[in-house]
Amino acid sequence: MRGLAIGVVVAALALPAAAAPAQSKPLFDFGRTGGTRAPFEATIAADGTVSVTGGVRSLGPVTLTKPALQGLLRLAKTVGFWSLPSKIRCPGPGGLVTEYLRIHTATQDKRVDSFGGCRLGFEQLYAVVKAAAGLQ
C-alpha cells in the first residue's frame, strides 16, 4: 500500500519543469552514508534541477516542475518533517546505511539523519523525494 502511494506521487512530480530562480543552497539535499553500501548525495535545486553524485542508479536527467517542488514541500509538512528530531535512532544492525534529508527554504532549514528506518513519516518523505529525483 505504501509502495502504491509513492508511485502515484512520483508520477505526478516527474513532469517537464519550468525554469525557476536558482538559490545558493539546494531546496532538497539528501542521500545515504555509512554502512556497507556505497554512499551517494543528491540535490534538487530551487529551479527543479537534480544533481547526483555517488553510488546510486539514476533514471536519467530530471527537472522537477515548480508545482512538483511545491508538492514535495507540502508532503514534508504533512509527514511532520519540520518537527522530526535531527537524529532518528532506530534499532538496527551494524552495516545499515544512514539516510539523511535536508530541506532549505526561504524561511526554514532542517536536516534529519535516520538510521534503521523505523520513523514512517521520514521514510515516506525520503522515498518520495528520491523517486521524484529519478533515483532507484
Binding site: 556497507t36 553500501r37 551494524g94 544512514t98 539523519d113
Partner: protein, 736 residues
C-alpha cells in the same frame, strides 16, 4: 529477540562524514576468541556466481566461491588485520588474535520467499535459518560464536520495511536469543549482485564475486568480534563500528590488488579502525608507532662476477627490493646507488631511484648499466652499493637498509711473441716484427721498445703487432733491445729481449788509378774507391787504403766519395807489374782489396819514337807497328798527310813529354832533323812510350810534327839506330 533490539538501540550509529573519532566501549562483551561457522544457503537452481548456463561449471563456481569464504575464515585468525581488534577489551576480557573456523554447511532448502525486491527474505527468515542449521549441525550458541549465512546471487533481503539489501546494506551483523543462548550472526547477501558494495578484486583468482564478498565478510566479521551484541565498541558520533569507519579504504594495494596476506593467501580487504593511531589500519602493535613496521629486503647483484676491466665492458647492477610484510606497505622508498671510482653509469635505471610506494609482497627490480671509466687493474674489486630509505604508511622513517655487490677484475697478462736473435750489417736495412697475444680480447695492448741500435725505430701498429725497421747506423756490436707489452691492467709489464748483432759492412775496393805507368818520373798517383756493398761510399769515411806496386807502396785515405789516393815513384822493372790495393777493415767495415796488372814503361833516354795516328787507328789490338824505319813515311799514315821521306820515326825534340802517371801533359809538337839526324838512342826500353804523330812536315832541314797521344809498345828485337834496322813492336797499352 526483544533483548537484541534493546541492545541494538544502544548501538545505533550514524555514519556522519566525520570518521576521525575513536571508537569507545559501551559496557558489553567482545569476542575474546572468535569461532566462526559458514552457512551457504543455496537451494537448487540458485548459484553464488552468475550462472554460465552450464550446470557443472555453475556448481564448480559455487564451490570455489564457498571455498574462498572458508579460506578467509580459516586464515584470518592470527593475521595482522585481525590483530587490530586485540587493542579492544570487553566486559569478558581483551580480544586475542584467535579466530577458529568451526565448519560450514550447504543448505539446499528452499527460500521462504522469492528473494526479490518485491518478495525479499526477511531478517526473521534468516535468523530462523541460522537456528535451524545450528540445531542440525549441533553448533553452539554463545556470543563467542559467529554465524555467517550466505545467500545466492541476486537474492534480496530486508532488515525491515525500509532497510533492504538493495538500498541500505550490503551485509549486516546482528544477534538474537536462540533456543540455547545468544546468537551472533551476519546476513551475507551476494554483494556483487547487489551493486554499490565495492570493487575489491585480486587479479589471478578469477573470482570477482568472491573478492567483493570477502571484503564484506571481513567487514562484518571484525565488527562482530569487537561489537557482537551492539554494546561493544563503536563511535559515539554514530559513524559506526571499526569496519564502518574504514569501509572501502584499502590503503596501498600491490600489483595484483592485494593489501593483506594471510598464511600466504592474498586478499583485498578493507582496513579496520585502530584507536591506537586514530585511523584505519591493516595491522596493530602494542607500542608506537602501533602498526607493523615493514622491513624491506634489498638485494644487489653486479654481473658478471668477473670482468676484464676494459672501458666498454658491460656490467649490470641489478637491484631488487622486496616488501615481505603481510600487511604494511612502505612509502617514500628511494634507492640511492653509489658507484666506485672505476665505474660509470651508461644507462638503465637512475642512480637515484624514487620508487615511491612498495606494497605488501611486492618487489621492484631495477637494472643499472655500468662500465669501467678507464682501464682497471687486474685483481681490483669494484663494489657498487645501494642504500634504501623509506617510511611506513604513517610517515615514520624506517632504518636504512643497504646492499652491495662486487665484481672482480680478472685480466691475464699478454704474451709477447719475439723473434730470435737478429743480425745485420752496419748500414744495411733491418726489419722484423713482434706481436702480443692476450686471452682478453678486449684489451688494448701497447707495445714499446727500448735499447734498439741506432738507426732502428719501433712502430706499434695498434693491432697487437709492432715493427722494428730502419737502416743500422750503430757501431757494429751486440745490442739488446727490450720490448714491453702493456695491457693497462697490470703494474708489472710483460717484457722480453731480442739480441741484435750489428756486423761490419761488406766493402768493395776498386783500383781506379792508371794502369799504364811511366817508370820513374815525378810520380805515380795511385787511386782506389772503397764502397759499401759496391754501391755507396762508406760513412764515416777516412779509411786507410794501402797501395803497393812492386816494392813501392803508399797509403791513401778515403774521402766522402770513398776515393783514396796516394803517390809513389815507381822504381820497379818495365813490363807487367801488379798494383795491390788493400783496405784492412775497421770498426764499421770489413776488409777488401783489389789487385790489378799494370804496364810499366819508359821513354828512350832522349827524344821519342813515333807512329802514325791513322796507322794506329787502323791497327787492331796488339798490332805490330813500326816506329823506326827508313820507310817510316810508307809504313805510317798520318792525319796530317804523308810524312816526308826524310822522317824516319825518331823525334829528337819533343814538346812536351809527360813526367807523371797519369800523364801530366800529352802533346803537342816535336822537331827533328831529316834522316838519321839526330841519331836515335842506341837502345830502347823493352816497354817504350811511343808518340802518336798526327802530322810531320819538312821545312828546310827541319821536320816539324804534331802528336796527340802516347802508346806503349813492347819492342821487338832488331832495333838499331841505323834506319836500315827498323824498330818494331807490339802495342800493349795506351798511356795518354
Amino acid at each position: 529477540m526483544k533483548r537484541a533490539l534493546l541492545a541494538v538501540c544502544a548501538a545505533a550509529f550514524f555514519a556522519s562524514p566525520a570518521l576521525a573519532g575513536n571508537i569507545t566501549w559501551h559496557g558489553g562483551n567482545v569476542q575474546v576468541t572468535s569461532t566462526t561457522h559458514a552457512i551457504f544457503w543455496l537451494p537448487p537452481g540458485q548459484h553464488f556466481e552468475p550462472t554460465t548456463g552450464n550446470a557443472a561449471t555453475d556448481a564448480a563456481n559455487d564451490t570455489r566461491y564457498e571455498n574462498f569464504m572458508i579460506r578467509y575464515l580459516q586464515n584470518v585468525g592470527g593475521s595482522d588485520l585481525y590483530n587490530t581488534t586485540t587493542q579492544y577489551t570487553g566486559a569478558n576480557g581483551q580480544i586475542t588474535n584467535v579466530s577458529t573456523f568451526a565448519g560450514s554447511t550447504v543448505d539446499t532448502n528452499a527460500y521462504p520467499h522469492a528473494g526479490t525486491t518485491v518478495d525479499p527474505l526477511g531478517n526473521d527468515d534468516l535468523q530462523n535459518e541460522v537456528d535451524a542449521v545450528r540445531a542440525a549441525q549441533g553448533w553452539p550458541a554463545g556470543d563467542q560464536n559467529g554465524y555467517f549465512i550466505f545467500t545466492a546471487n541476486g537474492i534480496q533481503s530486508c532488515f525491515n520495511s525500509s532497510n533492504c539489501s538493495y538500498n541500505a546494506y550490503c551485509a549486516y551483523h546482528y544477534w538474537f536469543d536462540g533456543t540455547d543462548g545468544a546468537i551472533s550472526w551476519a546476513n551475507m547477501p551476494e554483494a556483487r549482485s547487489l551493486g554499490g558494495c565495492g570493487s575489491a578484486n585480486v587479479t589471478g583468482d578469477n573470482d570477482a564475486d568472491a573478492d567483493i564478498e570477502l571484503d564484506v565478510l571481513s567487514h562484518e566479521h571484525l565488527e562482530m568480534v569487537t561489537d557482537p551484541q551492539g554494546d561493544g565498541w563503536y563511535d559515539t558520533n554514530y559513524s559506526g563500528e571499526n569496519g564502518d569507519k574504514c569501509v572501502r579504504t584499502y590503503g596501498i594495494r600491490n600489483s595484483i590488488g592485494a593489501n593483506i596476506y594471510m598464511n600466504n593467501f592474498a586478499f583485498q580487504l578493507q582496513r579496520e579502525w585502530s584507536n591506537a593511531i586514530s585511523g584505519c589500519a591493516m595491522s596493530y602493535e602494542t607500542s608506537a608507532p602501533f602498526i607493523n613496521q615493514p622491513t624491506l629486503q634489498l638485494s644487489a647483484s653486479l654481473a658478471p662476477a668477473t670482468f676484464p676491466g676494459n672501458p666498454g665492458d658491460a656490467l649490470v647492477y641489478t637491484l631488487t627490493v622486496t616488501n615481505p610484510s603481510n600487511a604494511e606497505a612502505a612509502t617514500n622508498l628511494v634507492l640511492n646507488t653509489t658507484l666506485p671510482a672505476g665505474l660509470t653509469r651508461t644507462g638503465g635505471a637512475s642512480l637515484s631511484i624514487n620508487v615511491g610506494n612498495l606494497a605488501v609482497h611486492d618487489s621492484a627490480t631495477y637494472a643499472i648499466n655500468v662500465t669501467p671509466g678507464s682501464w682497471l687493474l687486474d685483481g681490483s674489486v669494484e663494489t657498487v652499493s645501494t642504500v634504501a630509505g623509506y617510511q611506513d604508511i604513517l610517515g615514520n622513517v624506517r632504518p636504512d637498509i643497504a646492499a652491495s655487490d662486487s665484481s672482480t677484475v680478472v685480466n691475464a697478462q699478454p704474451t709477447l711473441n719475439l723473434p730470435g736473435p737478429q743480425t745485420q750489417d752496419y748500414h744495411d736495412a733491418l726489419t722484423f716484427g713482434i706481436s702480443a697475444t692476450d686471452v682478453n680480447a678486449g684489451d688494448t695492448i701497447t707495445l714499446t721498445a727500448s735499447g734498439l741500435p741506432a738507426g732502428l725505430t719501433f712502430t706499434d701498429n695498434g693491432n697487437r703487432t709492432g715493427t722494428v725497421s730502419g737502416t743500422l747506423t750503430a757501431t757494429p756490436g751486440v745490442y739488446t733491445a727490450t720490448f714491453t707489452a702493456n695491457d693497462h691492467h697490470h703494474t708489472t709489464l710483460v717484457n722480453g729481449t731480442v739480441t741484435i748483432t750489428v756486423t761490419t759492412e761488406e766493402t768493395t775496393l776498386t783500383y781506379t788509378g792508371p794502369t799504364v805507368i811511366l817508370q820513374g818520373g815525378s810520380g805515380l798517383t795511385l787511386q782506389a774507391r772503397l764502397l759499401e756493398d759496391g754501391t755507396v761510399a762508406p760513412n764515416p769515411f777516412g779509411q786507410t787504403i794501402h797501395f803497393t806496386i812492386g816494392s813501392d807502396s803508399c797509403n791513401g785515405t778515403t774521402d766522402a766519395t770513398g776515393l783514396a789516393q796516394c803517390s809513389v815513384i815507381p822504381t820497379g822493372p818495365l813490363g807487367n807489374e801488379t798494383i795491390t790495393s788493400t783496405f784492412a777493415g775497421d770498426t764499421y767495415y770489413k776488409p777488401s782489396s783489389d789487385s790489378d796488372t799494370v804496364i810499366v814503361f819508359s821513354f828512350p833516354s832522349r827524344g821519342a819514337f813515333a807512329v802514325g795516328d791513322r796507322t794506329l787507328a787502323e791497327a787492331g789490338p796488339s798490332a805490330t807497328v813500326t816506329w823506326w824505319s827508313d820507310s817510316w813515311w810508307a809504313l805510317n799514315s798520318l792525319t796530317g798527310g804523308t810524312a816526308p821521306l826524310s822522317f824516319k820515326g825518331f823525334a829528337g825534340v819533343v814538346t812536351t813529354l809527360p813526367t807523371t802517371s797519369p800523364a801530366n801533359v800529352c802533346g803537342t809538337t816535336f822537331k827533328t832533323g831529316p834522316g838519321n839526324s839526330p841519331p836515335p838512342t842506341e837502345g830502347v826500353p823493352t816497354y817504350m812510350g811511343v808518340l802518336v804523330a798526327t802530322s810531320a812536315t819538312k821545312s828546310g832541314s827541319t821536320v816539324n810534327g804534331t802528336w796527340s797521344g802516347i802508346v806503349v809498345v813492347r819492342t821487338d828485337p832488331g832495333y838499331s839506330p841505323s834506319p836500315g834496322h827498323p824498330g818494331t813492336g807490339t802495342i800493349v797499352g795506351v798511356f795518354c
